[in-house]
């Protein structure tokens, strides 16, 4: 049996199982709380797994392994930033948000504000962040399928060439995610996340053990071999080969590169607690204490996984080699599956073992992507229905039924849009795209959330200014950065309209978001609603009157 057949069979098994769960979950979904928050019935461990499932995306599994495999140590920065970021969520956000809110991030932002402007702003930012993040997942899926189906330029599969197959995959992934969300709602999506997190952890753990076994459990030997095979020697193990690169004789470029590294570092650590699809996970548990438990579980699961990325990345560098990875995918997104192939050949008996293990890991990667895109679609469609439709358009007069129907239609539309965008942006590095989503979340959502929870005087104007200035400056700076135009790896390499020197906007746009929120508040003519703040603060800290 060939790899492609086996992968397709395994993936179909996953799809069949998750669809069955989805249909089952849809029968349990009777009201809005079921659809948006899974009936708030999940345990701390279940939600911790689901958070892991939502968070450990294609960027983590394929992207980080790829960056480490191609560039060495620098990729590890992502693993560290993505993990440390959870402390912001744990200490400052998770429990307070759980108690104060109901279905979406905006429930907290709009608690003591005028509903229409704040909910509109929150819906805009939720959709923006989610679309960037979705894009990254779609790109990962496209890269994967070319490897999986063994399609080299010129070859065909079911009469499709590589490009057609990539597009077909993106369409298929998009269609499946729409089904999960529309049919299963939060309950179905959460179970899909849990199954996926389990598969991913088992798969990554197995690969890690095999990589280490190949080096007799001597990490130093693995690193040494990876460094030698990379052709870069010790530089491969030191920071600085991609981020904060020192350009000889160009002090200005060196300065920009180093600031870019700081910018990336800040965006990674502050982004997580502003990601709408992560925030709504805290509503799926009954109490703030369970929300805390679920974050603790998530930190354990996610931290362990990011330790595995070291072995996966350096293992791919040592056992597959940078050249072979670049040939398959210039962004490095296929390093982990290629490593699975190499490990399978070595440990499970030659050609067939390689194909079989590759098939397993590829199916895991597809499951990963599918679960994350479902979470993102759910977050953005919930926000459109609950924030924009129910509270802005209908001014709170919509029935639960109307709201849920709107959420399902919105999921369909968001799904369609992300399929189209995914097709356009097929060849970018996945981890990098996610870093942009983090920068936008950290600039727009995080300031608004923190001010809402902790600053008594914060006003409607402060909230809208923070969100619009934060996401506006982040998106604008990215548009005029070397990522979009004016460099060989840009989205539009042939044109050049860039003037902003950094790839990651965080170091500018995050302070812009915070300052705008502060300015908007002190320049407000209206005073903060003290009674509402009392209700929110007491509810957030004690759970009194929480949904």
């Amino acid at each position: 049996m060939s790899t492609r057949t086996l992968t397709i069979i395994l993936f179909l098994v996953f799809v069949a199982a998750t669809l069955a769960i989805t249909v089952w979950a849809s029968r349990q979904t009777r009201n809005a709380t079921d659809y948006y928050a899974g009936g708030r019935s999940f345990s701390g461990f279940q939600n911790g797994m689901a958070i892991g499932g939502d968070y450990m995306s294609a960027a983590s599994f394929l992207g980080i392994a790829g960056i480490i495999a191609l560039n060495g140590y620098d990729g590890f920065l992502y693993s560290i930033g993505f993990l440390v970021a959870w402390l912001v969520a744990l200490l400052l956000v998770a429990e307070l948000l759980r108690n104060a809110g109901r279905y979406t991030m905006a429930d907290v932002l709009a608690f003591r504000m005028r509903q229409v402007p704040v909910r509109t702003a929150a819906a805009v930012s939720t959709v923006t962040v989610s679309i960037f993040y979705l894009l990254a997942q779609m790109v990962g899926a496209g890269a994967l399928v070319a490897l999986l189906l063994g399609i080299k330029p010129g070859a065909t599969f079911l009469g499709m060439d590589a490009t057609a197959a990539k597009i077909a995959t993106i369409v298929m992934i998009g269609a499946l995610m729409i089904i999960y969300v529309v049919v299963g709602g939060m309950k179905g999506t959460t179970y899909v996340q849990i199954v996926k997190a389990f598969m991913l952890m088992v798969g990554a753990a197995l690969m890690t053990v095999l990589v280490l076994a190949a080096y007799k459990f001597n990490l130093s030997d693995l690193l040494g071999d990876a460094a030698t095979k990379s052709g870069k020697g010790d530089a491969f193990l030191n920071p600085g080969s991609v981020y904060g690169k020192e350009v000889a004789g160009n002090a200005l470029q060196t300065f920009y590169n180093k600031v870019d590294l700081l910018s990336l570092g800040i965006a990674l650590v502050l982004g997580t607690a502003g990601l709408p699809h992560i925030l709504i996970r805290f509503y799926t548990v009954p109490t703030a204490k369970t929300a805390r438990r679920s974050v603790l579980w998530a930190i354990g699961i996610i931290g362990t996984f990011y330790l595995f990325t070291l072995a996966l990345g350096f293992g791919a560098a040592a056992m597959v080699g940078g050249q072979a990875i670049r040939t398959q995918n210039p962004g490095g997104n296929t390093a982990a599956p290629q490593l699975a192939d190499a490990l399978g050949r070595r440990f499970f008996g030659g050609e067939f073992g390689g194909s079989a293990f590759l098939a397993v890991i590829a199916a895991v990667a597809f499951a990963t992507i599918l679960a994350v895109v479902a979470g993102l679609t759910l977050a953005s469609s919930s926000s459109i229905a609950h924030d924009f439709y129910a509270n802005v358009v209908k001014k709170g007069t919509a029935t639960e039924r109307q709201e849920v129907v709107t959420a399902r239609v919105a999921a369909l539309v968001i799904g369609g849009i992300s399929i189209l965008l995914g097709i356009v942006a097929r060849n970018l590095n996945v981890a990098f795209l996610v870093a942009l989503a983090f920068a936008i979340a950290a600039s727009g959502n995080l300031p608004a959330i923190l001010y809402s929870l902790f600053w008594k005087r914060f006003t409607t104007q402060g909230a809208t200014w923070a969100i619009y200035a934060g996401i506006g400056s982040a998106v604008l700076l990215v548009f005029f950065s070397p990522v979009v135009s004016g460099s060989a790896t840009a989205m539009f390499p042939a044109s050049d309209w860039h003037w902003f020197p950094l790839s990651n906007p965080g170091i500018i746009s995050i302070p812009v978001g915070f300052i705008a929120g502060w300015l908007g508040t002190i320049l407000s003519r209206e005073k903060a609603d003290e009674k509402k703040y009392a209700e929110m603060e007491v509810r957030a800290m004690t759970g009194a009157g929480a949904h």
Partner: protein
């Protein structure tokens, strides 16, 4: 008009104490991990020679520093769990029950403060 139970609670000494205890932990801890993480990022950018020092075999300062970030993250998560279970949950629970079922908050607050 009956006094708003949330406003009453917010003004109570017990709630103020709870807020002080909570903020006294989460704000300094946030500052601590953020500075510690920032130090790692800044050194990755500007202290390359130090980060490249090999400690044993091919394992260098950069790798150990990175792994220490994992250790501190796990440690802070554990400390916070211990802190909130002991210092926050009992008081928060008491206040919540009083608002949701108890007698008028005003009298209880008085009793607690005195």
């Amino acid at each position: 008009m009956a006094p708003d139970p949330y406003v009453e609670t917010q003004g109570s000494a017990e709630f103020a104490g709870l807020r002080k205890t909570l903020r006294g932990f989460i704000f300094p801890m946030t500052a601590a991990f953020f500075i510690w993480y920032a130090l790692y990022v800044v050194m990755s950018a500007y202290a390359r020679d130090f980060m490249s020092i090999k400690l044993f075999g091919h394992i260098n300062v950069a790798l150990v520093f990175g792994l220490l970030q994992f250790v501190t993250t796990f440690l802070i998560a554990w400390l916070y769990e211990r802190f909130s279970t002991r210092k926050i949950d009992p008081t928060a629970e008491r206040i919540r029950e009083r608002i949701e079922n108890g007698p008028t908050p005003a009298r209880v607050e008085e009793a607690v403060t005195k």
